[in-house]
């Protein structure tokens, strides 16, 4: 393994390039100066105070959380149905239906957003948070279905049959056997779709009707140099939040694996 020191150096550079900018975030969030440039001026928490005082930001955050939670829940629940139907049952038109679910994955989001906008306007549905959720479910579904299909596929069919054989009904079998065993998949799906939704920009911008949405709001604020430091403060909090989410997800995933005695294959996250 000592043959290519060059590769190690390359990997370090690569990681620095990827994550370096993220380290800049907290650095300038605590820097006492409006201008984002070295040298640093000293420590302050005033950007955080400023950020917390921003009523519009609070509203945007609330809207985005509502959207992300709703989209993630909807996409995951629908994904469970779709995955179950694909893995367990045979029905006419299955490949076509699956193909259609997966299409948003390869379609430029701009086109999805424009098409949705045109359709919604022409059938007279007013733009709102609800229409954004609709759009987000659409683009989240491929991820949810892909993750959940693999979770359902790894489930041994005879486990369900054993439960039926031992007197349980289809429904109680689903609740007692299937659901607990695909729970790590459901959790993964929820987290991924939540993440996709919360930083999604194009659909939120197109279908938002002027409602403040976090991603759109942040983008807007960057036009005003005075607002940049408080956005960096917000970014710092978001990074912290992501790390917490990842840690929680990883904890549950590992616990799930330990409990069912599976092999740890690295997991999705």
């Amino acid at each position: 393994m000592k043959k290519a020191p060059f590769l190690g150096g390359y990997a370090i550079l690569y990681l620095l390039f990827l994550y370096g900018p993220i380290i800049i975030l907290p650095l300038f969030a605590f820097n006492d100066g409006r201008i984002v440039a070295f040298p640093l001026n000293g420590f302050t928490t005033r950007w955080f105070t400023e950020m917390f005082a921003d009523a519009q930001l609070k509203k945007a955050l609330l809207n985005s959380l509502t959207i992300a939670l709703s989209s993630a829940t909807l996409a995951t629940v629908l994904g469970v149905f779709a995955a179950r139907a694909t893995v367990r049952y045979r029905w006419p038109g299955k490949p076509a239906a699956l193909g259609l679910i997966m299409v948003p994955l390869v379609l430029p989001e701009m086109i999805v957003a424009m098409a949705l906008l045109v359709v919604l306007l022409s059938i007279g549905i007013p733009l709102s948070i609800f229409t954004i959720i609709l759009g987000h479910v659409l683009i989240c579904m491929p991820f949810a279905v892909a993750i959940l299909t693999s979770a359902f596929q790894s489930l041994d069919r005879s486990l369900e049959e054993a439960s039926l054989d031992l007197g349980e009904t289809q429904w109680s079998t689903f609740r007692l056997i299937v659901l607990p065993l695909v729970m790590p998949g459901i959790l993964s799906s929820f987290l991924i779709t939540f993440t996709i939704s919360i930083d999604e920009f194009i659909i939120s911008n197109f279908l938002g009707s002027g409602q403040p949405i976090l991603s759109v709001y942040i983008f807007g604020q960057f036009r005003f140099p005075a607002k940049v430091p408080s956005m960096l403060a917000l970014g710092t909090l978001l990074v912290l939040f992501s790390i917490c989410m990842l840690a929680i997800a990883e904890y549950f995933r590992r616990r799930g694996i330990a409990k069912t005695g599976g092999k740890d294959t690295g997991g999705f996250l």
Partner: protein
């Protein structure tokens, strides 16, 4: 043992299609209450399919399956008086051993304490006393199998279905579990139906065996009949080793058939013991252990034929010899116990082979 003449399961012309594929082609027969019954056949012959139609996991395309006198046509798996031990054991990985074993009691109105006692008893029965709190996924193959057994037996089914329950175990463990299963079956008196592709396992364990080929039952009989009097060349070949020697039928009068067997000479056989005529070119079959090599000064009890050893296969307790009979190109395999004072012979040795006409099976 409590085998009665009472019928537990009856198949009447059962057919099963998977799309165009005809997986079960007219299954008929009965399984008696309290017997240890095996479904034996090569891979893909439909054993699992037949077992799953009993459990209710597969619908049949036509025909009738009766369990304990009731037509099972519209009875769901969870309402049938059968329980299954799956090939993969299907232990619920997110539950403890006790939760697995007690799973079938969820709908039981008994008190928690009573159920816990039932679980303990079931674990005791399969030799896993005190394992209740263990995580199910942390068990060895043999232990999982016992958990699966306990879990299926705790509901006291009328029929226990076992799909190749021993195939995942190593040889030692398998032989051990064979004996355990037989003991267990005698103890609980429940009808066991075992699917296996291992003929030895079927012979060792069963009261009766159904040999299946390509979706049909070729022969349904007790192990001894199956071994000594297979009803077709195919069954004879599948169960153990059998030598086939081409013959010409010389004459037939009443129950006696005169044949000329290549290398053995003229023999008269009891036709009433022979399987039904199938229009194949006639052969006689003989098992390796019905042939004996004679010592120099020994005389055969019935018939003897000269031969030359062509191949020696040494097994420790036994030696297999392939012998050319009577100066012909007919080669038979025979097995001899390696008792003290009997040296293992060498290739090329001239020998005399003793045999008995009553051990011959005529297929034609």
């Amino acid at each position: 043992m409590t085998i009665t003449e009472k019928t537990m399961i009856e198949f009447r012309d059962v057919h099963k299609y998977y799309g165009d594929y005809h997986a079960l082609r007219g299954i008929n027969g009965t399984i008696r209450a309290g017997e240890f019954f095996s479904l034996l056949g090569p891979s893909g012959c439909g054993k699992t399919t037949l077992l799953r139609t009993i459990a209710g996991f597969e619908d049949i395309s036509s025909g009738v399956i009766m369990i304990d006198g009731k037509d099972m046509a519209d009875v769901a798996p969870n309402a049938r008086p059968t329980n299954m031990v799956f090939q993969s054991y299907a232990i619920f990985p997110h539950m403890s051993v006790a939760e697995n074993v007690g799973f079938g009691l969820r709908r039981d109105p008994r008190s928690k304490a009573d159920k816990a006692r039932a679980v303990e008893e079931a674990l005791d029965m399969v030799g896993l006393r005190g394992f209740g709190a263990r995580a199910a996924h942390a068990l060895s193959g043999g232990q999982r199998q016992r958990v699966a057994l306990a879990r299926a037996l705790i509901l006291k089914p009328k029929v226990l279905l076992l799909d190749e329950p021993l195939s995942a175990l190593d040889k030692k463990m398998r032989e051990h579990m064979q004996v355990e299963l037989i003991k267990l079956q005698r103890q609980v008196g429940i009808t066991f139906i075992l699917v296996t592709h291992d003929q030895e396992e079927a012979l060792v364990m069963s009261d009766r065996v159904a040999v299946m080929f390509e979706g049909e039952i070729a022969q349904l009989a007790d192990p001894e009949t199956l071994y000594r009097r297979p009803n077709s060349k195919q069954v004879a070949d599948f169960i153990g080793t059998m030598n086939f020697i081409p013959v010409t039928v010389l004459s037939e009068a009443g129950d006696t058939v005169e044949i000329e067997a290549k290398g053995l000479g003229r023999v008269s056989l009891d036709a009433s013991l022979a399987p039904p005529v199938r229009g194949e070119s006639p052969v006689v079959g003989m098992r390796p252990e019905t042939l004996t090599l004679l010592y120099d000064d020994q005389k055969a009890a019935e018939r003897e034929t000269e031969g030359v050893i062509d191949e020696v296969i040494y097994f420790g307790d036994m030696t297999y010899y392939d012998v050319y009979l009577g100066g012909t190109d007919v080669e038979v395999r025979l097995s001899m116990r390696n008792v003290p004072g009997r040296p293992v012979l060498e290739v090329g040795t001239k020998v005399r082979v003793a045999w008995s006409p009553s051990a011959l099976v005529l297929f034609r």
